[in-house]
Symmetry: C2
Subunit: 364 residues, 2 copies
């Protein structure tokens, strides 16, 4: 059996009994009924995911998947493609947004070269030679190809490479599983809002204009051009909406496939996975199309500035935890949301019940 | 000079030069322009408040002000008044929501008896005798009276007691200042959404129906009754909207005065103060009416389920950081928001600039 089929087969829904037990306790806590709102919903979810009334979330792993996109040749981004590899270098140095925010929540960051166009061969060695570990960083190479092809001219990758990218994400999840209680997703890839919008359009049925955003900050003219490029890519590739592998191969990217694989792997092992922003949610849509039950393990970190994110989250029936105008990716939203996940667990495990604290209950 | 006048006199606006310096760095960070959105706005604010490019926020103090309300005799809450003192006891035991969430962000909690009806005399002693400190808690008595009077029958307190409650909050701020980088506000008081709604109605000019909510969870009939009680209180007391002390004395509460005093004290010492939910924001409105510049030091933690909170925050021109359907008070929203404050500081101080990291900038 293939790794993808085998992993998907292992995905079970959340445990109903664990959810009921958690809800029962949460309803007895010394506070007005459900007064901590969505954090209590989250606590119930975490119990259902982990089958535990003390959901473990201490060991946090954020996996930042990096890949390049031939479609940048069409001028869809404000930044040159070389920035992808430069930012991977920045991750190693510990100077990126994800480093700072992951350190704050005590998460390790695993950066995976899924298909960067630039040379990453020195990075593992550079990392090994470092004395201090300000970067809370690990580098793994799972490179499928040196960047996806230009989807405006043909398929972004072969079907075999799409499978390979998902398998690579699963392999990362499996390799980290023993040392991880909760996963977070992240991405780095100049141009990757373009394939993400294409995926969101196909899976949700949304109009390209409605699911495309400003990415790194393009102006009106560039926006209209980006929409045209996405439309053209969909026209020439005609991805099959029912076939996630076809969709990923035609208008996807290696890091998006990696994110989908990571989410499926986490779900198979009953680990919560915090889905970062727009690109990560495109990966989540691929995962969800392959196995809808995977959504039981997804936690939506934040609502991105990218307008298509709202539509993508709605398709997954997920409400994000944070809404602070973020549009960075890297896993930064996931890192921030992990603190709220920890808060939810503390509420479930540390707050006393009315009976335990001898506090009078509400009148009927 | 009185403590109130003296404290207010010390409040200066945020420092413009510190804001400019922070913005300049934030605009050079290795990410698309302002890609961490409102966290970057917050970082700029923190620089302006603290006059520092490395705003100190490590030593966190959440002050939970407790007080009772005679208006509970009108049946405005689902809970009996005795719950206030029981919850203070729960704070001491470390079993309340605020204990759990404050521990998570490594904040100490100072619970202040501003005017609890029940007996709190044993609490300081009980605390002193404890071996382990799971409660991350300190108890202070600043009791003005054993509960405010029923505002539906006359003034909640005398003008002198209103002054005393604000001074008490200032005293707490001054006493903690040396050991605190950032303050958070919190409240405990059965019935206290009722005076808070009255204050919000008077200061914002909002209709009582629009600024009144369900508090601890009352039904439709109880809601209409609560609105009627607030209207009656305003009719018989006729508070002067231009005179915050008159307003606080007529339809306020001791803990609300304490919160106002704490905020003014923090602002005077140029310390950021995270304003929790609806009751804390009523206190913030009192502080703001006494000295509008105090708003320069306020950070709105979250948007409460209480419908009047939106109107109150709008009056202060504050956008909350969190929107998770919380309605507990105690300082729980402030505790959660403190993590985002810390995240903002990390972004300002730990993320590399394009130049530092040798990353290519955007094309024009």
């Amino acid at each position: 059996m293939s790794l993808i089929a085998d992993t998907i087969r292992q995905i079970e829904p959340q445990d109903a009994a664990a959810r009921v037990a958690a809800r029962k306790r949460l309803e007895q806590l010394t506070m007005p009924h459900w007064a901590l709102g969505r954090l209590m919903d989250l606590a119930e979810d975490l119990a259902g995911m982990t089958r535990s009334q003390q959901p473990p979330v201490g060991r946090k792993t954020i996996v930042t998947m990096a890949g390049d996109h031939g479609v940048t040749a069409e001028g869809v981004s404000k930044y040159p493609q070389e920035v992808t590899v430069q930012m991977v270098h920045n991750f190693i140095q510990g100077g990126a947004g994800i480093n700072a925010l992951a350190r704050l929540v005590n998460a390790r960051v695993i950066v995976v070269d899924m298909g960067v166009a630039g040379d990453c061969s020195d990075f593992a060695a550079a990392k090994a030679g470092r004395e201090s570990d300000r970067s809370n960083f690990k580098f793994i190479s799972k490179r499928v190809r040196a960047g996806a092809q230009n989807m405006a001219r043909g398929p972004a990758m072969t079907r075999e490479d799409a499978i390979r990218s998902i398998e690579a994400g699963m392999e990362v999840a499996l390799a980290c599983c023993e040392s991880t209680d909760i996963f977070g997703t992240g991405d780095m890839g100049i141009g990757n809002t373009t394939p993400s919008s294409a995926i969101v359009a196909v899976i949700t049925g949304g109009k390209v204009e409605d699911v495309t955003g400003r990415g790194t900050g393009i102006d009106d003219q560039q926006f209209h051009h980006k929409v045209a490029v996405i439309k053209k890519s969909l026209e020439i590739n005609r991805p099959d909406p029912a076939d996630a592998l076809d969709l990923l191969s035609k208008v996807g990217g290696f890091e998006i496939g990696g994110i989908a694989g990571l989410i499926l792997g986490a779900a198979a092992m009953k680990k919560p996975v915090v889905v970062d922003g727009f690109i990560s949610t495109a990966g989540a849509l691929i995962a969800h199309r392959l196995e809808p039950k995977a959504a039981d393990y997804m936690i939506a970190a934040h609502r991105s500035v990218e307008q298509g994110h709202r539509i993508a989250l709605k398709h997954l029936a997920k409400q994000p935890l944070i809404d602070l105008g973020l549009r960075l990716g890297e896993g930064t939203g996931a890192a921030l949301a992990m603190h709220l996940v920890e808060a939810a667990v503390r509420i479930l495990t540390e707050v006393a019940t009315f009976e335990e604290a001898s506090v009078s209950k509400a009148t009927a």
